[in-house]
C-alpha cells in the first residue's frame, strides 16, 4: 500500500510541475513540428532504400533447392533488387564490408547463410526477411515433397511469381519516412531518454527538500520507498512519451507502422532504461555533478542517437559514437518495426534496454541497502 502511496505522490508532483510539462511535452512537440516541417525536402529527396544489391554463391547440388532459388532471384529482381552471382575467388563478406553489396548469401543444400551490411541496416534487414520467407517456404515444400512431390515442386517453382516473398517482407515501395515521421519517432524516443533527468532527482530531490529524513523515519522499508518512487517515475515518464506518441500520430499524422504494441513495448523499455540510468547517476554523483552528467549525457546521446538529424552509418567518429547511444538502438529498432514491418527486429533494442536497466537497478538497490541515514 505504501508503494502505491509513494508512486501516486510522485505522479502528482510531476503533473503539478509546469516546467516538467513544458520540457517533456511542449518541447518535443514543437521541435517535431519545426524540424519535421523545415527538413521535409531533405528527407523526401534522400531517404530511399531502393538500391539493394545481393551477392550470392550457390553451392547446392539439390535440384529442388536450385529451382526454388532461381525462382526467388527472379522474384526479387522484379522488385528492384540487383542480384549478382559471386565469381570464383570472390570474398563475399569483404564485398559487403566494403559496402559494394547490401548482403551476401551462400546457398547450400543445408540452408542459406546470410551476411548483412551493418552500414545499410534497413536494406540488409529487408534482404534477410526475404531470405527467411524463402527458406521457410522451401522447408515447408521439402516436407510436403515426401508426400506429394509434384505439388511440392510446383509450389517451389511458382513461388515468387506473384511477389509472395516481397509482399510478406519488403519495405512497402511507397513507404519511406517523411521528415515528420522521422522526427515524430526521434523526438518521442529523445523524451523517453530525458526520463533519466527526472529519475536522477528522485532521491537527491528528497535530500534537497530535507524530506528524506521523514521518509526514512516512517515505518516503511527502503525497498518500498525505492519501488514506489521508481514505479511513479516510470509511469509519469511513460505517460509523457505516450502523449507525444499519440499527438504525433493523430495530430501530426506521423507514421508509426502497424505494430503499436511492439512500438509501445520498445518505448516502455527505453523509459525503464532511462529511469534506471538516472538512478544510477544519482547514486554515483552528488549535487552539481548530477546536473552536469545529465546535461552532457542527454545531449550527446540525443545528438549521436539521431534525435536532431539521422546519423550516417557509413563510418567515422559520429557513427562509432552513435553505437553507444541508447537512442541509436531504440530508433533502429523502431525503424525496423515501422518500415520493414518486422516487429521482431526490435528485440535487440528491447534486450539492450532491459539488460542495461537491470544492471543500473541492481547497482542502485545495492547502494541504497548499503547506505546509512537518509539513504540519499
Amino acid at each position: 500500500m505504501n508503494i502505491w502511496n509513494i508512486a501516486v505522490k510522485e505522479i502528482k508532483s510531476s503533473l503539478r510541475e509546469k516546467r516538467t510539462f513544458m520540457f517533456m511535452l511542449a518541447l518535443p512537440l514543437i521541435l517535431m513540428l519545426i524540424l519535421g516541417s523545415a527538413l521535409s525536402n531533405a528527407f523526401d529527396d534522400t531517404r530511399t532504400v531502393g538500391d539493394m544489391r545481393l551477392l550470392y554463391k550457390s553451392d547446392g547440388t539439390n535440384e529442388q533447392v536450385s529451382t526454388g532459388w532461381h525462382a526467388f532471384i527472379t522474384a526479387i529482381e522484379n522488385e528492384g533488387v540487383e542480384v549478382v552471382q559471386a565469381g570464383p575467388g570472390t570474398d563475399g563478406n569483404e564485398e559487403v564490408r566494403a559496402d559494394r553489396y547490401t548482403g551476401y548469401a551462400v546457398v547450400s543444400d543445408d540452408g542459406i547463410e546470410f551476411y548483412g551490411s551493418s552500414k545499410n541496416a534497413i536494406g540488409s534487414n529487408i534482404l534477410a526477411g526475404m531470405l527467411t520467407v524463402f527458406a521457410d517456404r522451401y522447408s515447408l515444400a521439402s516436407a510436403a515433397y515426401q508426400v506429394d512431390p509434384e505439388t511440392a515442386l510446383a509450389t517451389i517453382t511458382t513461388a515468387g511469381q506473384n511477389d509472395e516473398f516481397i509482399r510478406e517482407t519488403t519495405l512497402h515501395p511507397n513507404k519511406k519516412p517523411r521528415s515528420i515521421d522521422y522526427y515524430a519517432m526521434a523526438m518521442t524516443t529523445m523524451i523517453g531518454l530525458y526520463a533519466m533527468i527526472n529519475a536522477s532527482y528522485l532521491f537527491s530531490g528528497e535530500r534537497t527538500n530535507k524530506t528524506a529524513i521523514r521518509l526514512m523515519a516512517a515505518p516503511v522499508s527502503k525497498g518500498a520507498i525505492f519501488t514506489g518512487k521508481v514505479i511513479g517515475c516510470t509511469v509519469i515518464n511513460l505517460f509523457f512519451v505516450l502523449v507525444v506518441f499519440l499527438v504525433s500520430k493523430f495530430v501530426f499524422q506521423a507514421d508509426w507502422g502497424n505494430h503499436y504494441g511492439m512500438v509501445i513495448l520498445v518505448l516502455l523499455t527505453e523509459v525503464v532504461l532511462a529511469v534506471s540510468l538516472g538512478l544510477g547517476i544519482s547514486f554515483l554523483f552528488k549535487g552539481e555533478g548530477i546536473r552536469a552528467i545529465n546535461n552532457i549525457f542527454t545531449q550527446v546521446a540525443s545528438f549521436a542517437g539521431g534525435a536532431y538529424f539521422p546519423i550516417d552509418q557509413s563510418g567515422g567518429f559520429i557513427s562509432l559514437l552513435s553505437n553507444f547511444s541508447p537512442l541509436h538502438w531504440v530508433n533502429t529498432g523502431l525503424m525496423q518495426i515501422i518500415y520493414t514491418d518486422n516487429p521482431t527486429g526490435a528485440w535487440f533494442a528491447i534486450t539492450m534496454n532491459v539488460s542495461f536497466a537491470t544492471a543500473f537497478i541492481i547497482f542502485s538497490v545495492f547502494t541504497v541497502r548499503r547506505r546509512e541515514g537518509a539513504f540519499v
Binding site: 500500500m1 508532483s13 529524513i213 521523514r214 521518509l215 516512517a218 515505518p219 546509512e372 537518509a374
Partner: protein, 312 residues
Amino acid sequence: MSHVLEIRQLTKKFGDFVAVDNMSLNVREGEIFGFLGANGAGKSTTINMIASLLRVTKGEINLLGKNIEKHSKFAKMNIGIVPQDIAIYEDMTAYENVRFFAGLYGLRGSLLRERTEEALEFVGLGDKSKSYPKNFSGGMKRRLNIACAIAHRPKLIIMDEPTVGIDPHSRNYILNSVRKLNDMGCTIIYTSHYMEEVEEICTRIAIVDHGKVIAEGSKEQLKAIITDTKEIWIGIRTDEPLNLQALKAIAGVTAVLQEENTIKIVSKAEINNLNRIIQQLIKDQVEIRSVEEQAPNLETVFLTLTGRNLRD
C-alpha cells in the same frame, strides 16, 4: 514513573571518529526532556539513532521496553520526528503533506482524514489546509513541519530545534503546542539553541558534550551543580575577537567566552577576582562599558561544564 526511552552505553562511530561515546540516559513517560549540546556534541547523531536513521555501533536503545533495532517498525510507529530543517513538499498542499506522511504510518480512509484535519487544527493551520506551503511564512512552515510528525499520534516526539528562524508569535505558538502535546500524554525530546526556551518548557535536561552526557537532571538539579560559581558579564566597545588567554589564567576563572561585545566569565564564587579581571582588560587596552554579575542559570551551567556556548 516508567521510562519511554532507555539508552544504554550507546556508541556510534564513523570510521575512527567517535560521535557518540558510551552514552546512557533515560527519558521518563510524560517528560519534556531537554537535550542540549553545542554543534558537533553528538546530539543529532543520537537523535538519528533513536529515529532509526543511523545504525547503532554499540549499546542499545529501548523504546517502551523494546529494542528499536529488533523492533524497528514498532519503534518508528511510536516516534514522531520534527526535523530541524523544514521537511515538507512545497508542491503539495498542507493537507496533502500531512495526509501523505500520516499515510506512511498505516492510517487509511476516514481515520486518516480525521487525523490529518486534527493535526492541522492543532498547529493552527486548519483554515490553510488547501494552501501550498510556498505561500506560507517561516512560522507556518514550522507548524506544518510539526503537524506532519504528530498526525499518527506517536508516544514519543523528537523536536530538533523547532523554533529556528521564526517570529516571536510563531515561537510562542509552537512552545504552547509542545506543552499541549505533553498534556495530551506525549513524551517529548526537545533540542534548542535557545536556552531560555529549554528553561521555560523542559522538565528534565541532559547536557551532551563530545558524545557523552556530562550532566542530567531537573533545572534545579543542574543549577545546584554550580552553586559555588558566579558569572560575570563585561560589556566592551569592540566586537572584534580578543585574545582572552590572560583572563583564563586568573585565579578562580573556569571559563571565558566572548559573544560579540560581551565577555562572559565563569568563576568560582568564593574568589574575589573582579579587580584582577578588570585590571587585565585595561592592560589589554579593552574599553569597558559595563560590568555585571549574573545569577547562575542554565547558560552558566552549560558554559561551566562545556566551556562553550550553546550556540557554538
